[in-house]
């Protein structure tokens, strides 16, 4: 494709985005990130995942984004780097520990956590301050199994971490004490780990098994098998809100369950995702401030928003409520760009961050087209 044609496509998209987006800020990192994690309402951490040294950065979102009625007053339209540090290896997962200025990371090579302190003492450095050893289990490595190391950070500096269902543990970061260890019969690779509340957590496995465990008891966790799928081997990802669980397969099948009864299905849908990728790093997440909406990414260069409250018990093909194609539009044709991570803004209903394999990071919010705005 000629460069002029490519620029023409970008121009067309720009004009269209004026109508469909309320906010759109585009940033280009030197190296792509697989992690996007809020450290406050206005700051987010990103980190590289190349084999050797990688930067960890804490970025401040453009001030213009928060100015709502007074956008004219804010000159700053760029992300600003506020803190930075270096990691010796790739950063595959990064989680902020709520109520602290700590983040924990994992490099995907071991089951250990690295613990970092972000800034502090008037410093602008992100410093490695400690390590937590993970449970060592012999892993059967198979690409088709999917799964990866997962971390969930809870209150009082308690962190859940693990790569398989059999090595998930809850560690008190400050003391290093292991508060809970998940005991399961099988070594299912993890695809998600979430605190449902202070004491209960959900571990989603890539084979579709979901474990729900209460860290106060030594009783066996509840095990919920995957929804019936079309027979071919698929990978599953899970997210839990305070009351619902969404499970998404690599074939685009989505199942919503009530958290109190994860085995049953409240509704189902077949999402409009074309998975050209053999090993997509899919993320599915509930919107914190928009009832019933989920964001889905990793299948392609788009982030899709679905409104699950209109889904029905019988699976049907559904269309996204909104699709952010910014990463696709701004990449050169022929580049196989895909979204590596996305995250909802914790308070603003229609605002998300997304990062892609070409190093782009976008923060965007779409215009609510419905007559009755939430």
């Amino acid at each position: 494709m000629e460069e002029t044609d490519f620029n023409d496509i970008l121009d067309d998209w720009f004009i269209e985005s004026l109508k469909t987006y309320k906010d759109l800020h585009v940033y280009q990192l030197e190296h792509p990130t697989q992690v996007l994690e809020w450290t406050s309402g206005k700051t987010v951490c990103v980190a590289g995942f190349s084999p050797s040294t990688n930067e960890i950065l804490e970025l401040h979102l453009p001030l213009k984004l928060f100015a709502d009625d007074n956008k004219g007053l804010c000159a700053e339209r760029d992300f600003k780097v506020v803190h930075g540090g270096f990691a010796d290896g790739p950063v595959r997962v990064l989680r902020h520990v709520p109520g602290t200025r700590c983040v924990v990371t994992n490099d995907g090579l071991t089951s250990d956590l690295q613990v970092w302190s972000v800034g502090g003492d008037d410093s602008d450095v992100i410093r490695l301050t400690g390590r937590v050893e993970g449970r060592k289990r012999r892993r059967r490595k198979s690409v088709s199994e999917g799964g990866s190391f997962r971390i969930a950070a809870g209150l009082s500096s308690r962190v859940l971490h693990g790569a398989q269902s059999s090595d998930v543990q809850l560690t008190q970061l400050i003391s290093g004490q292991i508060l809970y260890a998940l005991e399961t019969d099988s070594d299912d690779p993890l695809s998600s780990l979430h605190f449902v509340d202070d004491v209960v957590f959900l571990a989603g496995c890539s084979n579709g098994n979901v474990y729900i465990a209460d860290t106060r008891t030594s009783a066996a966790p509840q095990l919920h098998p995957p929804p019936a799928s079309s027979g071919e081997s698929v990978l599953w990802w899970t997210d839990a809100s305070s009351c619902s669980v969404v499970r998404l397969s690599s074939a685009g099948q989505a199942v919503i369950s009530d958290l109190r009864n994860p085995a049953g299905a409240v509704s189902r849908a077949q999402l409009d995702v074309q998975s050209g990728r053999c090993n997509p790093d899919v993320r599915a997440s509930w919107a914190p401030a928009l009832d019933g909406c989920i964001a889905v990414s990793g299948f392609s260069a788009a982030v899709q928003i679905y409104n699950t409250s209109v889904w029905q018990t019988e699976s049907r093909e559904v269309q996204p409520l909104f699709e952010h194609r910014g990463h696709a539009v701004s990449s050169q044709p022929g580049d196989d760009v895909f979204v590596t991570a996305h995250v909802w803004h914790p308070e603003r209903p229609r605002t998300l961050l997304s990062a892609a394999s070409d190093g782009s990071v976008h923060v965007w919010g779409w215009v609510d087209q419905s007559a009755a705005s939430c």
Binding site: T4, D12, I15, E16, K64, G72, V367
Partner: protein, 341 residues
């Protein structure tokens, strides 16, 4: 907005296309007591209704005039009201097919999407009035030396399609119309300091030696697909007052000396301002004022007439934006006074 009518001595109306003789034709409605201040061209139909939450700040046009009068920069006597641009006048730039489709609402969805506007009759009307306003400002400038419109600068419109909130190219129509068709043709210099390249205007006058297109714009702003003006100065993101002014000053005097225009059309877009939602530069209010003063003084002090249009500006605060747009009128008022016009 109260309807403003001023009486003006009637002139013979000459059909467009016929040679422009010594008898000038003013496209204005009958006006009242002779006004001797800076002509400010305005029409209350510069606006039309848009869908709610539409990004184009339509409300800024009447507010520009409102602020100028409220701040006593001008009086109502200085307001000249344009006629709607006729199809004949528009056809000196736009194709017959486009004009027919555009005026009758037959542009397809794809074409409309690129313009950023949903089609409506009100939209057609306001674009035609806006173009008529720029033409009148140019004519008033020829007679009085300096004139401003409270709208104008729709430089992304091409002969057969609209783009980027522009449906008719008012600067091109005014330049073409005032250039005339018989020799000696007037030479027109278009100075486009909107943060977006004047791509439509550049394309239209690519082969026209009597019109010189000069655009200073931010390289990374829309359109990414650039046309070729007679002189393009593409600047980097974040440029501030001093360097921006230097970029303009590096070229304008030389252009005036070498091209020797008979008329300058000036697009004084305020989207290079740091608070503009779309522009990627960092000018301040002072910077815009100094820029406008510089351009107008450079031109007028050489005895060349100048007509200014407000150009682009994007903000959800229409009032703040309107005040920003009124900077060019304030600068023009000062030039008018200082040059004893």
């Amino acid at each position: 907005m109260t309807r403003i009518t001023l009486m003006f001595s009637r002139r013979l109306r000459i059909k467009v296309g016929a040679a422009l003789t010594a008898c000038r034709c003013f496209h204005t409605e009958p006006v009242g007591r002779e006004s001797s201040g800076l002509p400010v061209v305005h029409h209350r139909k510069y606006v039309c209704d848009l869908p709610p939450n539409h990004r184009f700040p339509m409300g800024k046009f009447p507010r520009v005039l409102y602020h100028l009068i409220k701040d006593q920069v001008i009086t109502e006597k200085q307001v000249w009201v344009p006629e709607i641009a006729s199809k004949d006048v528009l056809s000196c730039v736009h194709t017959e097919e486009y004009l027919n489709n555009f005026m009758s609402g037959k542009t397809n969805e794809q074409e409309q999407r690129r313009t950023g506007f949903p089609w409506s009759e009100g939209l057609v009307r306001r674009c035609r009035y806006e173009t008529g306003g720029t033409v009148l400002a140019a004519e008033a400038a020829l007679q009085r030396g300096l004139a401003c419109s409270t709208a104008g600068g729709t430089h992304h419109a091409f002969p057969s399609y609209g783009s980027g909130f522009c449906l008719l190219n008012d600067l091109a129509v005014a330049a073409k119309y005032l250039m005339g068709s018989s020799l000696p043709k007037r030479k027109v210099l278009i100075v486009d300091l909107d943060v977006h390249q004047g791509d439509g205007t550049a394309f239209i006058f690519k082969e026209e030696p009597c019109v010189f297109t000069f655009s200073v714009h931010c390289g990374r702003n829309f359109p990414l697909r650039k046309q070729q003006s007679d002189l393009d100065v593409s600047v980097e993101d974040g440029l501030e007052d001093e360097e921006y002014l230097a970029a303009v000053a590096a070229h304008l005097p030389r252009l005036l000396e070498t091209f020797r225009p008979d008329l300058v059309l000036y697009d004084a877009g305020v989207d290079p301002h740091g608070d503009d939602e779309l522009g990627r530069l960092r000018l301040t209010d002072q910077g815009l004022y100094q820029r406008d003063l510089y351009v107008m003084k450079s031109v007028v002090s050489r005895g060349v007439p100048l007509a200014a249009v407000v150009g682009g500006g994007y903000s959800r605060d229409s009032d703040k934006l309107a005040v920003r747009h009124s900077i060019v009128h304030r600068a023009a008022t000062r030039v008018w006074r200082e040059c004893g016009m």
